[in-house]
C-alpha cells in the first residue's frame, strides 16, 4: 500500500476502492450513451455522426466482408514489408554506426537532419516515382521508420555499460565475445523500443498514403465510403483501424517484455 498525496487533506479513508476495470467499462458505456444522446438530440447532424448502434452493426458487417478484409490484408502487407525492409537495413547499420566511435557523430547529424522531414511531404514525389500501388506506400513508410530504428540501434550500442565491458575484457574476451555477450544484449532493449515506435508509425504512414492517393487498402475504402456519404461505414472503419493499431502496439509491447525483459529501464525512450 502506497500513500498518495492529498495535500493538507484528512487521512485517506481505508475503504476498498472500486476495481479499475469496472470504472473502465463504465467509461466505455458512458461514451456510447453520450454519443447516442448527441445524435438523438440533434446536437450533431446525423450526416456527420451516425448512431453508435448503426456503427457497431456496420463494424460487424465489415469484419465479415471478404472484400473489406482483403483490403485490410493489403494495408497490413505494406506494413509488414516496410517494417522488414527498414529493420533489416537499419538495425545492422545502426549497430555498426554506434560501435565505431568515429562514425557516430557524423552519422547522427545525418539522421537528425533526415528524420526532420515528415515522410508525407514526399508523397507527391513518391506518387510520380512509384505510382499509386504498394511500392509507393512501402517507400514512404520505410523512410518514416528507418531513422527511428537506426537511431535507437545507435543509442543502444552507445549505452553499453563501460564497467561491463571492462569486466568482459578482464575475463579475456575478444572483440567478438564482447560484441555478442555485452554490446548486443545491452543494445537489444533500445532496438526493441525503436521497433515498437516504428510499428505504430509505419501503420499511420501506410494508412495516410492510402487516404491521400493509393488505390488499395483500408484507407482507400474509408475514403470511398466518405465520398458515398456513408458516415456509419466511415466510423466503423476507423474503429477497426483503431483496434488494429491497439493490437499492433500491445503486440509489440508484449513481445518486448518477453524478449528483452532486462530492458524495462530503457523503456519509454525513443522516437
Amino acid at each position: 500500500m502506497t500513500t498518495v498525496a492529498q495535500p493538507a487533506g484528512p487521512v485517506a479513508q481505508a475503504r476498498r476502492p472500486t476495481p479499475t476495470w469496472v470504472l473502465g467499462t463504465a467509461g466505455v458505456v458512458t461514451m456510447f450513451v453520450v454519443w447516442d444522446l448527441l445524435v438523438r438530440s440533434g446536437a450533431v447532424s446525423r450526416d456527420s455522426l451516425p448512431y453508435p448502434g448503426d456503427t457497431l452493426a456496420r463494424l460487424a458487417e465489415l469484419l465479415t466482408d471478404p472484400l473489406f478484409l482483403g483490403q485490410v490484408v493489403q494495408t497490413l502487407w505494406a506494413w509488414v514489408i516496410s517494417m522488414l525492409v527498414a529493420s533489416v537495413v537499419a538495425v545492422p547499420l545502426g549497430l555498426a554506426l554506434g560501435y565505431f566511435a568515429t562514425l557516430y557523430r557524423p552519422a547522427s547529424a545525418v539522421v537528425h537532419a533526415a528524420r526532420s522531414v515528415p515522410s508525407s511531404a514526399f508523397l507527391p514525389v513518391a506518387i510520380l516515382l512509384f505510382g499509386l500501388g504498394t511500392q509507393m506506400k512501402v517507400s514512404l513508410s520505410v523512410y518514416a521508420v528507418f531513422w527511428p530504428i537506426l537511431l535507437n540501434a545507435m543509442y543502444g550500442v552507445r549505452d553499453a555499460e563501460p564497467l561491463m565491458l571492462t569486466a568482459g575484457r578482464s575475463m579475456g574476451w575478444g572483440q567478438r565475445r564482447l560484441l555478442t555477450r555485452i554490446v548486443l544484449p545491452s543494445a537489444a532493449p533500445a532496438i526493441a523500443t525503436g521497433l515498437r515506435v516504428a510499428s505504430s508509425t509505419a501503420l499511420i504512414v501506410v494508412l495516410s498514403a492510402e487516404l491521400l492517393g493509393a488505390t488499395s487498402g483500408v484507407g482507400t475504402v474509408i475514403t470511398t465510403y466518405q465520398e458515398a456519404q456513408r458516415p456509419d461505414y466511415v466510423y466503423a472503419g476507423i474503429l477497426i483501424v483503431g483496434i488494429l493499431g491497439m493490437l499492433i502496439y500491445y503486440g509489440f509491447h508484449f513481445a518486448e517484455r518477453l524478449l528483452v525483459p532486462w530492458g524495462h529501464a530503457q523503456r519509454g525512450e525513443g522516437r
Partner: protein
C-alpha cells in the same frame, strides 16, 4: 559538483550543553500518547497485521527512541504517529487531541534524504517550503530559514541544490527543514541509516546539540541499538511484526554525552546488552513473519 563535506564542525567536547530538558521526564505532561494502536494492511492474501496494540507515551521535551528488528513495523508505526497513515484500531493523541492526519507542530525527517528533499528547489527554498502560504511575513520566513540552516552549519549552502551536496549535508538540510517550522515534536525515521559511520557520529552529536538548544521533543526511530541508547532518555523496544512494545527502558546516562566517553561507561554497555537481548529474542520468536513494506 559536490561541495566538500564539512561534517566535523562541532566537536562535542567544545560544546557547553547542559543536561537535556528531557531529564524532567515523568513530571512533564505527555505530548504524545498511543493506546492500543493497531495497523493492518490490505493485501491480496487478506489483511496483514503490521502493528498490534501499541501503548506508549512521550513527554514534552523528551528524546525517545523506538528500536526493533528490521521488518518489525517501525516505519509503519512512525507513519501512523506522523498522521501519514490512518490507524486501524486504538487511539493516538497529540497534545491531548485525537490525531486526524498530519499535525501542526510536528515535523518529520525521513531516511531517504535524496528523495525527500525536492531536487527542483534550492536548499533555501526546500527549507522555506513548509513555512509558505501560512501568513508568515516574508522577512520572518527568511530569518527562520537562515537560523535553521545556521543550526545545522549549512548557512553557506543556501543557494545550492540538494543534489550538489554530500549525503550527510543533504540530511542536515532535511533536519533544518524540520527545525524551520519550530516544531513541538520532531519525528525522525532512521535518519542516519544511509550515511557513513563517521558522518553518522557527527550527525548524532549535532542532533543532541540542537535538541538541547531548542527543547523540541524528539521521537527517533532506528534499528541501531547503540544509536538509540546513546541519544535517548528512553528506548522503546518493539517486537518482530506484528509489533508490540516489549519493553520501555529509561536511559540514565549523564548528559552531555560523548561519543567515546559515554560509550565506555559500564551502564551504557549494560543498557546496550539489555536492548540487544530483547531485540534478538523477539526476532527469533517470530522470524516467520514477512518483510515490512
Amino acid at each position: 559538483m559536490t561541495t566538500s563535506d564539512t561534517e566535523g564542525t562541532s566537536p562535542v567536547g567544545a560544546t557547553k550543553t547542559s543536561g537535556g530538558p528531557g531529564h524532567a521526564a515523568g513530571l512533564a505532561e505527555p505530548i504524545l500518547e498511543a493506546h492500543g494502536v493497531t495497523k493492518s494492511y490490505r493485501s491480496r492474501q487478506g489483511d496483514v497485521l503490521a502493528v498490534r496494540s501499541i501503548d506508549f507515551s512521550v513527554s514534552r521535551g523528551e528524546f525517545v527512541s523506538v528500536v526493533g528488528p528490521s521488518g518489525c513495523g517501525k516505519t509503519t508505526l512512525m507513519m501512523c504517529i506522523a498522521g501519514l497513515l490512518p490507524v486501524t484500531g486504538g487511539s493516538l493523541t497529540f497534545r491531548g487531541q485525537a490525531m486526524t492526519g498530519p499535525q501542526e507542530g510536528v515535523a518529520v525527517v525521513f531516511q531517504d534524504y535524496s528523495r525527500s528533499l525536492f531536487p527542483w528547489l534550492t536548499v533555501e527554498k526546500n527549507v522555506a517550503l513548509p513555512l509558505r502560504d501560512r501568513g508568515i511575513p516574508r522577512a520572518d520566513i527568511e530569518r527562520r530559514v537562515e537560523r535553521a540552516l545556521e543550526m545545522v552549519n549549512l548557512g553557506h549552502a543556501a543557494g545550492l541544490y540538494p543534489w550538489q551536496l554530500s549525503g550527510g549535508m543533504q540530511q542536515r538540510v532535511a533536519i533544518a527543514r524540520g527545525l524551520a517550522v519550530e516544531p513541538e515534536m520532531l519525528i525522525m525515521d532512521e535518519p542516519f541509516a544511509s550515511v557513513d559511520a563517521q558522518t553518522r557520529a557527527n550527525l548524532e552529536d549535532l542532533l543532541l546539540e540542537i535538541w538541547a538548544e531548542t527543547g523540541t521533543t524528539i521521537l527517533f526511530v532506528t534499528h541501531d541499538i547503540d544509536e538509540a541508547v546513546y541519544l535517548s532518555d528512553r528506548v522503546v523496544v518493539l517486537s518482530q511484526g506484528p509489533s508490540v512494545v516489549v519493553e520501555d527502558i529509561t536511559v540514565r546516562l549523564d548528559r552531555p554525552r560523548h561519543q567515546i566517553d559515554t560509550k565506555q561507561v559500564p551502564l551504557f554497555g549494560e543498557l546496550r546488552a539489555e536492548v540487544f537481548g530483547l531485540v534478538m529474542a523477539s526476532d527469533r520468536r517470530t522470524s516467520l513473519s514477512g518483510e515490512e513494506s
